[in-house]
């Protein structure tokens, strides 16, 4: 191969090999589009390498260790030690298996893979700089392009990441030992998931959050359960404080904070995790050459076909804005590919579910009661507390609930909020009901296996119709 001199043409250029990009590329390949996927770093993007997958792998093991050590009441006496290096090695193996799977699936679907960083030169040309010294670059011409460059953690002025004292979520997923203590800035879902995981592994965690509660966007009856459980795991909370700077302190870090009223405080711990949100990475590929202007948060505006304001240029995943979730990226990648292939595809979902893998777990989809009201519905709400669920009790879990929101007049299911074991799985059925325009009666009339947590979904639907059996009706 002559380095630096290659020029190829492709129908579709996909920039970024995360969930948005690799799905766009695979789907395009399936539809016989000639497609090239460029990835600067690692196939699978944030999700597989330093997001969803590694975090859930670590959370699973930490939870198992904690669960088994707190099962005395069940007659189970156990002592569990987590060797962090071993845990991270195992996690790396899982990641490798999945990233090499993505590579294989791309190839099997006819996607041309190029490693390197792509930058747009103009509306039909990009240069790809290959990684490493002297690896050269190549030029690719394209008919259409999908920008799937993802996002990165937001940096706090005065508390910049250094990988040693001030960590981002990726650093925490690669710890070689469990720190004795950690100050976590940010009580959003990433901060809460990692804090819970660290606490279960024996780390003393203090969460500093600017707002006055964790998990913005969730109602207080949900956040309370997560907060209480985190507290019982030893997590401390400081609300209403903004991190302003830090100093080394002994072997650790002293983090300084300030309230709105100017009161200051400081927290000393082995290190600090800053998890205050993510911003789009539209700035990695010179989108200006396409005539595109990223928004302030680094994301690009798109329409229901995922197209940007420039014809033939699409953006998917985190770089296309909130919600920054892998499955939203998947769907956008899917639609982008189909639109490029000439299919009448649209982002026409009714709802994008979300999960938070805290303890308890949260799964939500569609509208809450308040959101339904705001949309002009007259909502009816059904609920099944898990303490009335036989399956939950056999799992030693009795905190949490399944709540279903529907339109009172028609019975159409509008949303679901689930807190408890497997909440992220259970919400799938509610999501299907929403997409299908199903009614409460349809869920309630579907026979659910006993004993399962999914029965609570049916009971919540029945409860909204005053016909629940295993919980009192209103």
């Amino acid at each position: 191969m002559v380095v630096g001199d290659i020029s190829t043409g492709t129908e579709l250029l996909v920039v970024g090999g995360g969930p948005g990009g690799y799905v766009a590329a695979i789907r395009a390949g399936q539809l016989d589009v000639d497609v090239t996927l460029v990835e600067a770093d690692a196939y699978g993007g944030t999700c597989l390498n330093e997001g969803c997958i590694p975090s859930k792998a670590l959370i699973h093991v930490a939870t198992l260790a904690d669960e088994v050590e707190s099962a005395e009441a069940m007659g189970l006496h156990a002592r569990a030690d987590v060797d962090m290096q071993g845990l991270v090695d195992w996690k790396d193996g899982v990641v490798d298996q999945l990233t090499s799977g993505v590579e294989k699936l791309c190839k099997a679907n006819g996607v041309s893979l190029v490693e390197g960083r792509a930058e747009f030169v103009d509306g039909e040309t990009a240069r790809i700089a290959h990684g490493g010294e002297g690896q050269g670059s190549e030029t690719v011409t394209f008919d259409s392009a999908v920008i799937a460059t993802g996002s990165r953690p937001i940096e706090l002025p005065g508390v910049e990441f250094d990988g040693e004292h001030i960590l981002d979520s990726s650093d925490v997923l690669d710890l070689r030992s469990v720190p004795e203590s950690m100050t976590v800035v940010g009580g959003g879902y990433i901060g809460m998931e990692l804090s819970t995981m660290l606490a279960k592994l024996g780390c003393d965690v203090t969460i500093v959050e600017m707002l006055d509660d964790i998990l913005p966007g969730y109602t207080e009856d949900i956040t309370r359960l997560v907060r209480n459980r985190a507290e019982s795991l030893g997590v401390a909370f400081s609300f209403g404080e903004r991190a302003t700077g830090w100093e080394p302190a002994g072997d650790g870090v002293r983090l300084d904070t300030e309230t709105e009223d100017g009161e200051t405080a400081s927290y000393t711990a082995e290190n600090v995790l800053v998890a205050v949100g993510r911003e789009g990475a539209a700035d990695t590929c010179n989108v200006e050459a396409l005539g595109l202007e990223p928004r302030n948060d680094g994301t690009l505006e798109t329409d229901a076909t995922t197209q940007t304001s420039v014809d033939g240029i699409y953006a998917v995943g985190d770089v296309a804005g909130e919600p920054m979730l892998a499955h939203k990226a998947y769907r956008e990648g899917h639609v982008a590919a189909e639109v490029v292939a000439g299919e009448p595809s649209r982002l026409d979902y009714q709802a994008i579910p979300s999960a938070v893998f805290t303890d308890p777990e949260i799964g939500t989809v569609g509208l809450t009661e308040a959101e339904a009201e705001a949309e002009g519905f007259d909502p009816v709400v059904g609920e099944m507390p898990l303490r009335a669920s036989g399956r939950a009790l056999t799992l030693g879990a009795d905190e949490g609930f399944v709540r279903i929101v529907a339109d009172a007049e028609t019975g159409f299911v509008l949303g679901g909020q689930i807190v408890g074991p497997e909440a992220a799985e259970l919400v799938a059925e509610v999501g299907l009901a929403i997409e299908l325009g199903a009614r409460l009666e349809d869920i309630a009339a579907t026979v659910h296996t006993h004993p399962t947590l999914s029965e609570a979904v049916a009971e919540a639907a029945a409860n909204a119709r005053d016909s629940a059996i295993h919980t009192l009706n209103r």
Binding site: H334, E343, S345, D442, T446
Partner: protein, 98 residues
Amino acid sequence: AAPTGADGRVFAAPSTRRLARELGVDIAAVDGSGPGGRVTEADVRAAADATDTVESGADDAPPSGDDADTDDTDDDVRSAVRRVDEEADDGGSDATPD
């Protein structure tokens, strides 16, 4: 292996099947206009109207109304009437591949 429903296999939502019983319609005999031939509430209501005009009800299901006097049932009958229009345009999902 699970048995099929006692009324046979019909591609229609449980709420639609219940409506058919309330209206005295034999849903197995209704041609579905929904995606793939799914029987919609509008189909059931149209079948009920057609039956009404020839003044004969299916004898399989009890009539709705008087003896089914729970709030549940009455609500559903009312709400189902309003939903006919909405249901009628769900054939459009055919148009989106995958």
